[in-house]
Subunit: 337 residues, 4 copies
C-alpha cells in the first residue's frame, strides 16, 4: 500500500500519517521528493480499508499494491489447472466443447440435438432448465422437469451435463444431476449463492458478469474456492459496452489476461456474446486461436421456433462444420480437441 | 412489433413472413416502399421472442414496439405513487431522508449516529448488517446481531430501518425487523430473490444495477410487483462507465426518465455513486433540484475508522449542514422535506 | 513514479532497475517488504514513458504519481479563474447563461430567438454556423454566411456570440467575429486544432469528448494553455455509456471533480446530454445546484422545423420559465446570475 | 422511417402527423392496432431530422429504418473490395502485414526494424512522424524529418509506408511520400480532415474511434468516399470500456460485422488495443482466425528505450515467430499471406 501525500505537506502531517500506519500494524517507509512525498506501507493490508487513509486532509490518494486473491492466483499455483468434469478434462491443453440448446423444451428436442452435437465432437451437453429472464412474463424454463430430461439424455448419450443454477434452493438437486454447474453472468456477484458452492463437489462454470472487471471476476472465483470448492472454470460471454448492434462485446483479451492472473481454465461463449448466429463461427475460431480452453455454443435443430435465444443458435450442420475448423486451428495452437 | 425486410425482397419472402406472423396470432400489415418493405405486427407480442423473426434470411431486423411492463408503467397508473414506510411517506411530494452508517459496527456507534441524523431531519435510518463485499476476506457484516442492534436503535429513536437483504434465507427475519428492505445493485437481476419479495408486505428499495439500462431496472421492479408486492422505491447509486476517478458515474437523468416511464418514487444514493465524501454535498443538492424523491446518505461519526466505505461517509455535522440546504432547494422545487 | 517489483524479486533485479532509474536522472528509493518490493522514483518524470519500466521481466507494474498538468492545475493556481467574454464574466460566482439555436438558419430566426432569450436573462448567444454532422449528406451549416448573421444579431442585441470552430482554416475569421470560440466534443483531442488556439486571444469553450476521462479533458485544456491561450472554460455535454434511451449520460460529478483538479470555470450543456427537451429543465436546475458556472441551452422558436436537433431544443417561453428557477437556485447556492 | 404514436391517440392526432409526413414529401401508411398506432413513412428520409417528429405530443418515438450510407454499403457493392497500396493488395483474400515502430526516431532505428520485419514477411512499414500525444509536454514526433527518414528506408527496402496524418496542412506532403495514409482514432470524426481526403489519390487507413459505434465508423468511411476517395481500409484498435487493466478492449466482432455492413477491408491493430506486448500474439492469431484482412503491429528493436509505446511493441524475433503462426492460421482460413 502506498500513500501519496499532497504537495508541500508539513512534517507534522507526515508524522500523523506514519503513526496511523504503524497503529495498523504495518511498517512505514517515508520517501520524500521534489514535489511529492510518498509513504510505502509494508505488511498485511488485506483487511484494511485503504480508502480511510484518503480521508486525512494531507493525503492525495492511496494506492493498493498487493493482489487481493490467493487461491486463484497463478503466482501461488504456477501450473495450469486441469478440471475434471465427470471424466472430461478441461484445461492444460484439453478443450471443453460444450453444445446444446439455450432451453430444455422437450425430450425429443434435447435428444436430437445431443446426438447431433456428439457426433460432431462435442464432449458436454448444455441446456437451461431454470432461465434468467429480464421479464417476469417470459418463459422461465421447465425447472425440475427440465433437469429430468437432461438426465435422460445423458443416460442415452453419455454426455455430461452443463446447466445454470439460480438459487441455493436447488443446490442438492444440481449436485446430484448436473456435472458442471453454471453460475450465470447476473449472479457472478450473488455472494450468497457463491458461498453455498463450497458445500458441493461438482465443478463450477463461472460466467463473467456483464460489466465485471477482470479483478472482480477473479475475486468471485476466489469466493467459491475460499468456500471449499476449488474446481472453477471461467467463461467469458461478452461484456456490455456502448455498442448496441451486438448484444454484447466479446472481449477475447480476457484469455491471455486471465491466464496470466490465474491458473484456471478459460472458455468462451460466443453465442451470448454476439447475439447473432452468424457471429458464432468467426468468434469461435478466434477464441481457439487466442488460446481458449474451450467453447460453449448454443445449438438448436429449429432455431426459428426456439423458446429463447433462437437468433443466436447454430443449426447442427453448421455446428458440425465449425468443429472441423476448430480442430484444425487447435492443431496449429497445440490443444487437444 | 415491426419487421424490416432486406432490400429488394421478393413477394414470396414477404408472404412467408406474413404467414409466420399470422401463425403467432398477430395481425400483419405490409407497407411496401421504395427501397424497403416493413411488416407492422399488431397484437400481444409479450411472449414472442422477436429475434426469431430475424433468422429468416429475408429479414434485416425486427423492432420491438410495445413496452414490456405494465404494473410499473405510468401509462397505466398516471399518478405518482406514494409509498408508506412505517408511517414515513415517500413520493408524491414527500422526501425520503435516509441516513446512517454503511455498516452496523456496535450499538453505541449506531445510536450516536441515529440520534445525530434524526436531530438534523433524517426520517429513516440505514445500516448494513449483511454486506456485499467483492472479496471473501473482507468484513461481511455483523449479520443477525447487526439487525438486533438496528432494532434497539429504532426502539430508542423511532426511526424506521433500511437494510440490505442478500438472501431469501433471511426473508422472514427482515420482514419482521426491517421497515424498508433494500435490494442491492448486484442483486437487481437476482430474479430468484426478486420473486420471493412477493411473499412479504414490506416496501422494497430497489437499487439500480451497476450497468442496468432504465428498461432493465423497470423490469426488475415489474418482477417484484408481478410477484405480489407493489411497494417499490427506486434508488440510483451511480453506473459503471469508463471513468475511474470516481467510483461510479451518478446518472441524474434517471430521475426525469424513470418518472416518465414509471409512477414509482426515485431516490438517490450519492455516497456510493462518487465514492468520495466531498462529492456527496453537491450531488445531493443536484438530486433534489432535479426532482428526486429523496436521498440515502452514509453518515459516520468516525469515518477514518469505519469498517467499510469510510471515505465516502459524511460526519454528522456536515450532514446537518447539508440537510439545511436540501430543505431550501426542496422549497424552490416544492417538495416536502 | 513507483515501480512495483514482482514477488520474490532477486537483489540483482532490484539493482538493475535501480540503475535504470538513476540513468534517467531520477532518485531511487527501495522499500523492501514481506511479499513485495517497491522502488519510489523521485524527480521530473514528465518526459519519461513510464511503461518502459514495465518491460523488465521483474517488474509487475509502474504507477504514475505526479499530475501531468501545471497551467490548469489548481495546486498551482488555488483561486477560481474568472474568464471575461467581451464583458461577460464567467466563473468565481458569475454564471454564463448561453442560449440560442443549434444551427443558424436565417437572420429572422436568430434575431427572434436572441431577443427572446436576452429578455429572459441570457447573457450570450450561441449558434452553429459550421456543424459537425455524423453523415456527409446532412445539413453542414451555413458556414461563413452563418457567422455574418450572428454578427448582425450581435450588433442588434449586444449579446456576445458563442460558435463552434471546426478547422484552423477559419481561425482568423473566428478570432474576429466570435466572442467565445467553442471546440466541439469530437475535436477535444484534435491536437493540431488545439495548438493553433494559442495564436488567438479569444476565450475558448472546451467541450468534453464523448468518452474523455477527467484527466484527458484537463490535458486538452493544458494543450491550449501551453500554446499561449489561458482563457479556457470547460463544458460538459454528457458522456457515452451503455444506456441508449438518452443520447448521452450527463455526468454532473464532473463539476466538483474538475473544480478540485483545475481552477477553470465549468459549465453544462444539458441539451446535447439528454437529447430530449424534457430533460433540459431538471438537469439545468441540478447543474446549478451542483455548483456549475453556467449553462448552454438550445432554444428554438419552432423546434419541429429546426434544421437540426429540434428534439432537444426549448421554446422561448420554456427557457424563460427555466431561467426564473435558475435564479432562485443560484441564490441558494450564492452565484450571481 | 416509422412513427410510433402514444397509446390511445386520437384520430385528429394521427391526421396531423400524417399531414406532416406528406409535407416532407414522404408517403404515409397508418397501421392502427390494439394498443398502439404506427405510421410507416416511405421515401427519401436521408435529409430529414427524424427526431423532430418526436416533438409532437402524440408521438412516443420515431425509428430510423434505412441505412444512411451508400458508397460503403455492401448492399450496393456485394463484392469484397480489394485496395491496392502501391502494389500491395489488401482485401479479397489478400492480407496486409504492416509492421514497424510506433515513432520514427532515427534512420538506423527504422532501417534495422524495416529490414527485420521485411525478412519476416511484412509487406508494409509503419512509422509515426506526427504523434498524437495526450500531453502537450510529451514527444510530438520528428515531423517532416520523420517522413524523410521513412522515404529513405522505403527506397532501401521497397516497403510501402503507412503513417498518420493529423492536419490538412500536410496533405500534399503525405500524398507525395506516404503510400497508405492513416487517420487516427481521435480524428475519426474530424470531419474537416476527412473531407480533405477526397482531394488526394492515396488509399486511407481509417482507425475506429475510441468509442465509435459501427455505424459511426461506416459513416466516417462514407465521408471520405463521398468526398471522392473510395480507397478506404478500416482498422480496429480497441474500444474504450470500463475495464482498465488493458489499455482498450479489442472488439473482434467488428470483423464479421463490418464485413456484413460494408465491402471494405478490415484490419486489426492489436498493439494499441491491449497496450501490453504479451497480448499481441494471441490477439493477432485470433484476428486472422476471425477473418481479418490484415494486421498492423508495432515492432521495435529496443522497446525499453522506445520514445513511445515501448510496452506494447514486439521485438523483431517475436514478430518473426508470430508471422509464421499467422501464415498457418491464414492457410486454414484461406487467405493469402
Amino acid at each position: 500500500m502506498i500513500i501519496v501525500m499532497k504537495p508541500r505537506s508539513k512534517q507534522e502531517d507526515i508524522k500523523r500519517l506514519t503513526d496511523k500506519v504503524l497503529e495498523k500494524g504495518l511498517e512505514a517507509h517515508v520517501v520524500q521528493g521534489q514535489e511529492l512525498t510518498i509513504i510505502g506501507c509494508i505488511g498485511d493490508t488485506s483487511r484494511i480499508d485503504l480508502k480511510q487513509f484518503e480521508l486525512d486532509l494531507s493525503v492525495d490518494r492511496v494506492m493498493h499494491v498487493q493482489e487481493p486473491y490467493k487461491l486463484a492466483n497463478r503466482a501461488f499455483h504456477p501450473e495450469d489447472s486441469c478440471i475434471d468434469v465427470s471424466g472430461v478434462k478441461v484445461g492444460r491443453g484439453h478443450l471443453a466443447l460444450i453444445a446444446g440448446p439455450c432451453s430444455v423444451e422437450s425430450t425429443e428436442q434435447v435428444l436430437e440435438i445431443a446426438q447431433a452435437v456428439k457426433a460432431s465432437g462435442a464432449n458436454m451437453l448444455r441446456g437451461g432448465a431454470f432461465k434468467p429472464r429480464t421479464s417476469p412474463y417470459a418463459f422461465q424454463g421447465m425447472g425440475v422437469d427440465g433437469l429430468k430430461i437432461l438426465s435422460e439424455v445423458k443416460a442415452e448419450t453419455g454426455l455430461p451435463i452443463v446447466s445454470e443454477l439460480m438459487s441455493p434452493e436447488y443446490l442438492d438437486l444440481f449436485n446430484e444431476k448436473v456435472d458442471l454447474i453454471q453460475i450465470g453472468a447476473r449472479n457472478m456477484q450473488n455472494f450468497d449463492l457463491l458461498k453455498h458452492l463450497g458445500d458441493i463437489n461438482r465443478p463450477i462454470l463461472l460466467k463473467r458478469g456483464l460489466n465485471a472487471t477482470y479483478e472482480e471476476w477473479v475475486m468471485s472465483a476466489e469466493y467459491i474456492m475460499a468456500s471449499g470448492n476449488e474446481n472453477v472454470i471461467l467463461c467469458e460471454r461478452g461484456i456490455r459496452t456502448f455498442e448496441s448492434y451486438t448484444r454484447n462485446t466479446l472481449d477475447l483479451q480476457c484469455i491471455p489476461v486471465m491466464k496470466k492472473l490465474t491458473h484456471l481454465p478459460v472458455i468462451i461463449d460466443p453465442s451470448h456474446a454476439g447475439g447473432k448466429w452468424w457471429l458464432v463461427e468467426p468468434m469461435a475460431k478466434a477464441s481457439i486461436a487466442a488460446g481458449a480452453d474451450g467453447l460453449m455454443i448454443e445449438v438448436h435443430n429449429d432455431p426459428s421456433n426456439a423458446l429463447c435465444d433462437g437468433a443466436q443458435s447454430l443449426k447442427p450442420d453448421k455446428y458440425d462444420e465449425l468443429l472441423k475448423n476448430i480442430v484444425e486451428i487447435a492443431h496449429v495452437i497445440e490443444k487437444k480437441a
